[in-house]
């Protein structure tokens, strides 16, 4: 078990700044999810922590031990690779037991721990098979069993569920989370699937272009995104962004944009702002802030309906309402949202404005 501290970590591949000054602290026993779009540096950060990638500058500590320049084998970590990397020339039993064999544990002890790990992951019947005789999901379990057999200080996982079908992914999501809680092992988990991130992580670290954007609980990141990138990246469908001018008439401040007037209680102090409102917070019918929109496309998910519509000036707006609804293309609807639900951003810096 360990607390992980990453200080101003940089990793350049020639011109490419894969990691551009990452500072992050992960509590002992915490499940931290690294989330971000493809190519943002998640794998690079994970590999730097594992020691498979040497860093350009910065430091990594496990508890108070500086591990920046240690070989992977000296860091007491384990890893679940995206491709699982279950060794094809060893039986499942030997795959799981190999980390212990390397460290010189006795045969009986290995046997015992392998049984334990296989039991944890429900693969006891598979121990005498070769990986080629396993399905993807089973191979994934073997990879996890191998990773936990030796009580690692830090468990690293790089998109371990991305090669599984949707159903199995949902199942493994909760199983992995439960397993991690039982073991209490500090875990860094890479994904670009926000549902995975939301449901599994104690905290989520959102990355973009080699930089950390925001670290926080799912709720913090959803309700208080620090900038437009995080606001847009988290949530599906994506948050609507409306540019608006601040109009103040002494008593009240109103944000006017795209024909929508939004009264707010405190002046943001900027002439122009970006108003963010999530599709699930825009409903049908009149409300605090109401506006007319023309439907041009709907997506029916049965449990909910996603309405794509245009405002009077042609600006696209997306709303998601619960239930199964029918709309005609070109149909005019009244939509509304509550001012409580809006987010304000500075259009220049794209940072959140606290109101």
């Amino acid at each position: 078990m360990a607390r992980v501290r990453i200080e101003n970590l940089k990793k350049y591949f020639g011109e490419v700044k894969a990691l551009d000054g990452i500072t992050l602290e992960i509590e002992d026993g915490e499940f931290l999810v690294l989330l971000g779009p493809s190519g943002c540096g998640k794998t690079t950060l994970l590999r730097s922590v594992s020691g498979l990638e040497s860093v350009t500058s910065g430091k990594i500590f496990f508890n108070d031990r500086d591990v920046t320049n240690l070989q992977p084998k000296d860091r007491n970590i384990s890893m679940v690779f995206q491709s699982y990397a279950v060794w094809p020339h060893m039986k499942v039993r030997d795959n799981i037991g190999y980390p212990m064999k390397i460290k010189g544990h006795s045969k009986e002890e290995i046997e015992k721990r392998v049984k334990w790990a296989a039991n944890m992951l429900n693969i006891s019947e598979l121990l005498d098979r070769y990986p080629s005789q396993l399905s993807g999901g089973q191979r994934q379990r073997v990879a996890v069993a191998r990773a936990i057999v030796l009580n690692p200080a830090v468990l690293l996982m790089d998109e371990p569920l991305s090669n599984l079908d949707a159903l199995l992914r949902v199942k493994m999501r909760s199983e992995l989370k439960k397993l991690q809680e039982e073991l209490g092992v500090t875990t860094i988990y890479v994904t670009h699937d926000q549902v995975e991130a939301m449901t599994m992580g104690d905290r989520i670290a959102v990355m973009n272009r080699g930089k950390l954007q925001q670290v926080g609980t799912a709720s913090e990141i959803y309700h208080k995104p620090v900038n437009m990138f995080v606001a847009g990246f988290i949530g599906s469908p994506q948050m609507n962004f409306l540019r608006a001018k601040t109009v103040s008439d002494g008593a009240k401040t109103i944000l006017k944009g795209h024909g929508v007037d939004i009264p707010i209680s405190s002046d943001p102090g900027l002439e122009e702002v970006v108003v963010g409102i999530r599709p699930e917070h825009i409903g049908l019918g009149k409300g605090e802030v109401s506006f007319e929109a023309t439907v041009f496309f709907i997506e029916k998910l049965m449990s909910s309906t996603i309405i794509h519509a245009t405002l009077e000036d042609g600006k696209e707006i997306v709303s998601m309402i619960p239930g199964d609804h029918e709309f005609k293309n070109g149909e005019k609807v009244t939509m509304s949202f509550s001012t409580e639900k809006i987010h304000l951003f500075d259009p220049k810096t794209e940072r959140r404005i606290e109101t």
Binding site: S50, K73, A85, P88, K103, S132
Partner: protein
């Protein structure tokens, strides 16, 4: 049905195509001299080991077989000692001039040994390598090495780095992980390329003839002795060339198939 018929016709044709010369060589090699020159006989009256015996024991054939094996083993050993790390580096690392090196290696494959043979013998005479087993082995190493580099690099590229990295994460050094994880996975391919290297060296006649006088490899020896002898000696020599290679391939092939059985995905 028709497809099956054609399939078997093709099988038979191919088998006949490859086996006829071999059968004829074998037949002639064991035919007594008087039967061989008798135009009315195709199937010999009886078989004899006389030609083979003479070639092997009276004409030093035995000695040259041993030399051939020695040369091939040294050449394979050296080629893999140098070629394996090179192939690994080509497969796993990005570095400046990689393409140029790759191209140069390919280029050396296109230079026939004949071109370098004369300068080679001059150098060999100066350093005292002419007419030695090591000398021929070195020349064969030069011939095999580029092949080994290219083929091992493609073998290693075919094995996911993540297997090796998993080894490193779970407690091995990079080198240990290479030896314990990557090497076993590469073994079928490496064995196949070793066999091919063996055949390359075993069959090579030109350089071996030029570089040696007394310590001749089997093909060089045959070229210089049997070719001046009656036909049935030539055929007996052919058998001597073919049989060890066939045995070698036969055994390693079985080993190869069983290896592939477990390590292929």
């Amino acid at each position: 049905m028709l497809k099956k018929v054609f399939f078997w016709i093709a099988v038979i044709l191919i088998a006949v195509w490859f086996l006829t010369p071999i059968v004829m060589i074998f037949l002639a090699a064991f035919t007594p001299a008087e039967d061989y020159y008798n135009p009315h006989r195709i199937i010999p009256s009886h078989l004899t080991f006389e030609h083979l015996y003479k070639l092997l024991f009276l004409l030093d054939g035995w000695k040259s077989i041993i030399i051939s094996v020695e040369v091939a083993l040294i050449a394979i050993g050296l080629s893999f000692l140098i070629g394996l790390p090179a192939g690994y580096a080509m497969a796993r690392y990005k570095f400046k001039g990689k393409r140029a090196i790759n191209l140069t290696i390919l280029l050396t494959r296109s230079i026939p040994l004949i071109v370098v043979a004369v300068p080679l013998i001059v150098i060999y005479m100066k350093v005292g390598l002419s007419d030695t087993v090591l000398g021929v082995a070195l020349a064969h190493t030069a011939m095999i090495l580029p092949f080994v580099v290219l083929i091992t690099s493609s073998i290693f590229s075919g094995i996911s780095v993540e297997y090796e990295e998993a080894g490193m994460v779970f407690g091995l050094t990079h080198f240990q992980s290479f030896v314990k994880i990557t090497l076993p996975l590469a073994l079928p391919g490496l064995a196949a390329s070793a066999i091919y290297s063996f055949i390359m060296s075993w069959n090579e006649v030109f350089v071996a003839s030029i570089l040696t006088l007394t310590n001749r490899t089997l093909p060089a020896h045959i070229l210089n002795t049997a070719m001046a002898s009656p036909d049935y000696f030539k055929f007996a020599a052919g058998v001597m060339m073919a049989v060890p290679a066939m045995i070698f391939i036969f055994f390693t092939r079985k080993y190869l198939i069983s290896m592939w059985g477990i390590s292929l995905k």
